[in-house]
Symmetry: C2
Subunit: 181 residues, 2 copies
């Protein structure tokens, strides 16, 4: 239950609990009902928060779905640190593939895709930030963030959306190998 | 108005007219109302066909949307023939990018994305068929259809869905260059 005098973007304490409860509610409801049958009032009820708290924080359902779809790939988590760009990227790509092999995350990404286009996707923005954090460690690499997005992230996202059964244990390694070939 | 004794998969004459009218109706309605507000009865009315004709041919709305989203990239159209794999692929990729710079086609692709995952996408299947047709002309090329899908098609589709404003005149050329670098 969010106190309305609390700034809605505060990330500690009660606010963090709201985010956590809303995220769990969305994941459960998507799994139970399918992503197109989930509504904001339904999420609010399950999370034990007021619908207005959801609208205030996320604006609308597509934004919420987009946000939740990538929440587990928390941009503040530690990134792989193997001392080698190729190894770091491979592990990072493997994490991304693993995340989306969970059918709930894949369904949420598809939902986010249908709502995307007019707004910048958090999924994309966070992956680009991370690609740049990895690149910063290796200033001599001749690879750019666009190369990583196009060659590694795009094929994973494309498979998640259109061909989830082609995501394999070796996909990340293959894609990163292509980047270095 | 489709005669119910006509095999529903016949592609000439009346059947072709039904497909054409349904396609036009979907494009107009998506542009007017946005993709999530379009329904089968609405399409049927606009196209002057019975809703059952639509259900019989396409099964459901997501399949219809998926189908229509890629109809203009008719798989029987002539493919570029420049006598050089790189030139052919560049022209082919440019065509794909051009197709999806039309906001209606992009919206339809996003709609198809949200319905994809459980079924094979026509968009993807047709692009793979075409990639193989192009490759067959150049048996000495060391490129595979997977390379083309991952390196050229996936980044275009990814941009169309999540970052349409980054699709530029030079995108196709850049992506194909990466394949040959």
């Amino acid at each position: 239950m969010e106190n309305t005098t609390t700034p809605s973007k505060r990330t500690g304490g009660r606010s963090a609990a709201v985010i956590h409860n809303v995220r769990t509610a969305v994941e459960e409801l998507v799994e139970e009902k399918g992503q197109d049958r989930v509504t904001v009032p339904m999420i609010a009820e399950r999370a034990g928060v007021n619908p207005t708290s959801i609208y205030r924080r996320w604006g609308d359902l597509p934004t919420l779905i987009n946000d939740i779809a990538t929440y587990q790939l928390d941009p503040s988590r530690p990134l792989p640190e193997r001392g080698d760009l190729r190894a770091d990227l491979t592990e990072w790509a493997r994490e991304l593939g693993e995340h989306y092999r969970n059918p709930v995350n894949a369904a949420l990404l598809r939902g986010g895709a249908s709502a995307a286009g007019e707004r910048q996707s958090n999924c994309l923005r966070n992956r680009r930030i991370e690609a740049n954090l990895l690149l910063e460690r290796y200033p001599d690499a001749s690879i750019t963030d666009d190369d990583i997005l196009d060659t590694v992230v795009a094929p994973i996202v494309y498979r998640v959306i259109f061909l989830p059964w082609t995501l394999e244990d070796t996909t990340a390694e293959h894609l990163v190998a292509r980047l270095f070939h």
